[in-house]
Amino acid sequence: MMKSKLKYLENSIPKFVVTPTFLIMIIFVYGFIMWNFVLSLTNSKLLPMYNFVGFKQYIELFGSSKWWLALENLFIFSSLFIASCIAIGLLLAIFIDQKIRFEGVFRTIYLYPMALSFIATGTIWQWMLNPGLGLQKFVVEMGFKNFTFDWLVDTKMAIYTIVIAAVWQSTGFVMILLLAGLRGINGEVINAAKIDGASMPKIYWKIIIPQLRPVFFSSIIILLHIAIKTFDLVVVMTKGGPGYSTILPSIFMYQYSFSRNKLAYGASSAMIMLLFVMIFVVPYLYNELRKR
């Protein structure tokens, strides 16, 4: 009797140990998401008020040209960001994989921006791209008198400066993932293809790159996730400007929730951001966990 009770206690230790985490997740992740959803159904301004107005905020949100601009910018930013990171990352990974000297040095150099904060990265690139004293001045002084590179202050081009900085920061990460993928590929197939007289570019294009598909897939998910969350970089580089030209959903959410006193409106934009993430993360997670 005594023994079985002890046994029972012993068996519940693992559950006991993860209980705090369980509660934390229930409250601070799932509960807060629900709470945020509830807020988005109210008419809260400066402080939360529970006067429900249904989906009014969402209707207003999708009627707002500023929100559509934020979505458009997110689309431009994330597609260019992902495409550039993967293209450059793949190139670097393939070249580094050619049994080169100083591999470690190159890898270290390509990856170090990942250790910096987006605020620091933004500070660097704001300085480099500032038309008064930055790269533009340098090129003009080199003798190209009419050279202009003022994207940072150009409403049409400013979003691309965010892309430049973000690509600089994250490419090394994709390179490392792809390099690991390349090294996991069975060399025998490649040797066989070589004996058959296939050229190296052809081998890469036809045999190696298709095998990297799962790595491309995870890279895209991670980069897309970074893109949707991008906030700091825009704050430090352009503050969403000039005008609203570099506004992203994250910036939109922050502005309305914390400086424009439209809390419920901000909450509704956060829900849409969550929805975007869920659309691609849930199938991905499901797939990953099922494999185990």
Partner: protein
């Protein structure tokens, strides 16, 4: 014979090409920080008269001193130092506590599965992915109610709560690879949950603790969103202070001080990366293969 020589030559050319491309990209990645360093060592007249790539003519470390203790950030003119200290006060406990909780969780998920533990783990993983905007408003309400708003404690708390998903994942994936026979044998010998953890798993856990600590340190030190939302002037982390310094509109822009401040702000994570890049990379990979 000819064919072999030809092949050797073309091989040589392609080798040179490879090194050339790799070096060009190395310059591309290094240039911005190089520019930052030289800018931080010039005085402001030299910056205005020269260009971003000109080497400093009169070396000065005054911008570093100013950035550290004299620069005006917001209303006070004490440089970036107080915020750097805030970041340390936030990062150290948050990293340690979230790593310790993660190690126990990972241990359970890997070696003491119970009914529903896999499902729980999946729900925990989802926490790695949520855009934090979706919890900002409820969290600021809650911190206010708890009397923790704008406090260092509040920020520590937030970083622990939203760090556990990652730390649990790291430890689970590491402990899964440890043979279960070892643990079963210890169970037969009468060792319990904690004894097995401390005697068998903990002694081999140093690498994963390094990975986890470096990952968490980078995340928390570099955080801006939580910092800017849940702090005030006296508890701001260094990222928020750096942004305020760089984007201040009040005074004349002093780029050399901005650059020195940014370099100070990135120093801890950059040093951690250079000293233990191996663990940093492992963390990135583990975080990626969720």
């Amino acid at each position: 014979m000819d064919v072999i020589i030809k092949e050797k030559n073309s091989n040589k050319i392609s080798r040179i090409l490879i090194y050339l491309v790799l070096s060009i990209f190395a310059i591309y990645f290094l240039l911005p920080v190089f520019v930052m360093i030289i800018t931080s060592l010039k005085d402001i007249n030299e910056i205005k008269n020269g260009n971003i790539l000109s080497m400093p003519q009169h070396f000065t470390i005054q911008p570093w001193i100013d950035a550290w203790q004299n620069a005006r950030i917001g209303a006070s003119a004490h440089g970036i130092k107080p915020y750097f200290i805030n970041s340390i006060m936030i990062t150290v406990p948050a990293v340690l506590i979230s790593s310790i909780i993660g190690s126990f969780n990972g241990y359970v998920f890997a070696k003491w599965k119970f009914k529903g533990s896999d499902l729980f783990f999946a729900f925990l993983l989802f926490g790695c992915f949520i855009p934090f905007q979706v919890i900002l408003l409820p969290m600021s309400q809650t911190l206010g109610k708890l009397g923790l708003s704008q406090s260092v404690f509040g920020l520590i708390f937030v970083h622990i709560v939203y760090g556990i998903s990652f730390t649990s994942l790291f430890f689970r994936n590491f402990y899964v690879s440890i043979p279960t026979e070892l643990i079963n044998a210890a169970k037969i010998d009468g060792a319990g949950f904690f004894r097995i953890f401390f005697k068998i798993l903990l002694p081999v856990s140093l690498p994963i603790f390094m990975v986890c600590i470096i990952w968490q340190m980078t995340q928390i030190w570099n955080d801006f969103l939580f910092g800017v939302t849940f702090s005030d002037v006296s508890t701001q982390p260094v990222t928020v202070a750096l942004n305020n310094l760089v984007n201040s509109t009040s005074s004349v822009k002093r780029y050399n001080i901005d650059m020195a401040a940014a370099l100070i702000a990135v120093a801890p994570t950059l040093i951690a990366y250079i000293v233990s890049g191996k663990y940093f990379v492992k963390g990135l990979m583990a975080g990626a293969v969720k």
